[in-house]
């Protein structure tokens, strides 16, 4: 039932869209003094993108939001209002998993903000030093992990951190820290930190590149003026450059936020769909996957899957709105 509604909805939407499109062009044409003919080409240019984007992205997104208000009662899809959310937040079977995943996801995000972005900014600051030899080489090498797929990254680190292979204990022995080695991925206390740091390792290239671009855009006169006033080195970075690249830092923060609350692949490749040990690396993406598709003994549940996707949508929407309407407006921008 819901399936046919989906199909019908999309074609109706298409038709309506095409109609409003021609309406717009007609009235626009009437306003024109020189009476242009109907500008069909605008519709032709826009239509393919609009159709694919609306049918595959926007409609399913809203359909998913709608499904979160329905559940199967006596084998029939019935409107249940907010009861799915009540179950997710409060029911004994669901709530523990959900709050655990949400907490882990926040922790995942906090580690990225505290480790990935500062390292990215520091690397960008070093790379942007004028006339640095080999900057292109460093840039290329440090950006490499970002291009690798999660599968490669996940398995490589699984091997390296594995106590069977002994690469990590060997390396730690070189700096005299062998006694500190532990099978981090297998311990509930450290697994989430280890997975987050693997993700940081993979993605540090993105903040590095964006900050690097922002630093290159600072005009040389500003830096020269600072030097004339005797502001150099650390002071120059923190007092002159950092305020100028704040908008770029805002962008990498929101990109990190959206990416982290949508993450799934790395946890899935490193720790599997159960996000072990003992759910300690479970984040919203893996919870959504297990809930929607089921895993081992657990059956897939479409309505609860849609409910979790809706919660993720609301979290991301809240983050993006906070950025667009509060943070971005408060940040002072300088025009050169």
């Amino acid at each position: 039932m819901a399936l046919s509604a989906f199909g019908g909805g999309s074609s109706n939407e298409r038709q309506q869209r095409a109609e409003t499109m021609t309406d717009a062009t007609v009235s626009e044409a009437e306003l024109q003094v020189e009476r242009r003919p109907r500008r069909w080409h605008i519709a032709v240019f826009l239509l393919p993108a609009l159709v694919v984007y609306s049918a595959v992205m926007i409609l399913p997104l809203f359909e998913t939001l709608r499904l979160s208000f329905f559940n199967t009662v006596d084998g029939q899809s019935t409107f249940v209002g907010l009861r799915n959310f009540q179950t997710l937040f409060g029911d004994a079977r669901w709530a523990a998993d959900f709050w655990n995943a949400l907490k882990n996801n926040f922790f995942f995000f906090v580690i990225h903000m505290l480790v990935q972005n500062p390292i990215g900014i520091a690397l960008a600051a070093l790379l942007s030093i004028p006339r640095l030899r080999g900057a292109a080489f460093y840039r290329t090498a440090i950006f490499l992990p970002t291009l690798l797929s999660f599968v490669i990254v996940g398995f490589i680190w699984k091997l390296i951190l594995s106590p069977i292979w002994g690469v990590s204990p060997y390396l730690m022995d070189l700096v005299g820290l062998k006694s500190l080695f532990a099978p981090w991925l297998g311990k509930p206390n450290s697994a989430l930190i280890a997975v987050s740091l693997i993700s940081v390792w993979q993605y540090v290239g993105i903040p590095m590149m964006l900050i690097y671009a922002a630093l290159l855009n600072i005009p040389e006169e500003v830096i020269e003026a600072a030097e004339c006033d005797g502001v150099t080195g650390w002071a120059q970075f923190f007092k002159i450059k950092l305020p100028l690249i704040l908008p770029a830092i805002g962008i990498i923060s929101i990109l990190t936020f959206v990416g982290n609350f949508n993450a799934f692949d790395l946890v899935y490749t490193v720790q599997g769909a159960l996000a072990g040990p003992d759910g300690s690396t479970d984040i919203l993406g893996t919870l959504l996957y297990r809930t929607f598709f089921g895993f081992q003994l657990q059956l897939g549940d479409r309505s609860m899957g849609a409910t979790i996707a809706t919660v993720m949508f609301l979290i991301i929407l809240a983050g993006v709105s906070l950025y667009l309407f509060v943070i971005q407006r408060r940040i002072r921008r300088y025009q050169f």
Partner: protein, 279 residues
């Protein structure tokens, strides 16, 4: 330039820090590749050592190439990525042209509607996307993946391309109109060739997430005939966890095409990111 900025010890420190991080970034990849070419004993006894004539062994590669259907997976990934990029570029450029060239009612609204997808990940609609694909019989076809990736790539493509199309000179387009070119010819013959650098940037941005995606192949097209390289190696490696030679060889095989492409296009890619992304 002041002395403080170029003093020797300071430069040495900077290089030391950068080299240290470069090692952190590259070492795991390097370690995987050298060990994939060694025999089992050498992998465990001396993981840090380069393969020597006595430890050199390609048994891992033989296992991988003999067992998994990697040629097919590779072909699937290639088809999906290339067709999606082509559609994103064509549809994205057309929409971007309409938005930047013509004034019509709803222009701004349309731009905002298309930009929505830059921030909201398409993954959140998975539940209904799967339903739609089941209803239209597209599950386990490459078409399903192509449609999803096209929709996913369009918002950013329209956004970047319309910024660039605003910089194409109006005089040129009007000259074309006076010479009797249709709006379609103006787009395909005048504007498209001029925004080619921007198209390359968009292509790279679109390509990476598509090639590396695990979520949609896992959900929409997990059948043997439609597996992509990413999903194929995930499952293959999962089966061979105890055969270290095979796992290391499979990882190296998965890294190599990305590595070669990256080394060939890194300048283009980095220029694209540093020039187009943040303004």
């Amino acid at each position: 330039m002041s002395k403080a900025r170029t003093s020797l010890s300071r430069t040495a420190l900077v290089h030391a820090a950068l080299i240290a991080y470069t090692l952190v970034a590259v070492f795991p990849v390097f370690l995987t590749i050298i060990n994939s070419m060694k025999n089992r004993n050498a992998i465990f006894r001396n993981p840090m050592q380069l393969p020597t004539p006595s430890t050199f062994d390609l048994v891992g590669y033989q296992t991988v190439l003999g067992q998994g259907d990697f040629a097919l997976y590779f072909q699937n990934s290639l088809i999906v990525t290339v067709v999606s990029i082509a559609l994103v570029l064509l549809f994205g450029a057309m929409a971007a042209f309409a938005l930047s060239e013509y004034r019509f009612r709803g222009n701004t609204l349309m731009g905002l509607y298309l930009a929505l997808g830059i921030m909201i990940p398409i993954r959140l609609g998975t539940v209904a996307i799967l339903q739609g694909m089941v209803a239209t019989g597209l599950v386990n076809t490459l078409t399903a993946l192509i449609l999803v990736y096209t929709a996913q790539g369009l918002p950013l493509a329209v956004f970047i391309l319309s910024e660039f199309m605003r910089t194409v000179s109006d005089d040129l387009k009007n000259a074309g109109r006076i010479d009797g070119l249709s709006e379609y010819s103006i787009f395909f013959r005048l504007v498209l060739p001029l925004v080619r650098p921007a198209m390359a940037t968009v292509a790279v941005f679109t390509m990476i997430p598509i090639w590396n995606d695990l979520w949609f192949p896992l959900i929409l097209a997990p059948s043997e005939a439609t597996k992509t390289v990413t999903l194929g190696s995930q499952i293959f490696i999962g089966q061979f966890v105890t055969n270290w030679n095979a796992v290391l060889a499979a990882l190296s095989l998965a890294i190599l095409p990305v590595l070669v492409l990256y080394l060939a296009f890194s300048r283009q890619l980095i220029r694209g990111i540093t020039s187009g992304a943040v303004k």
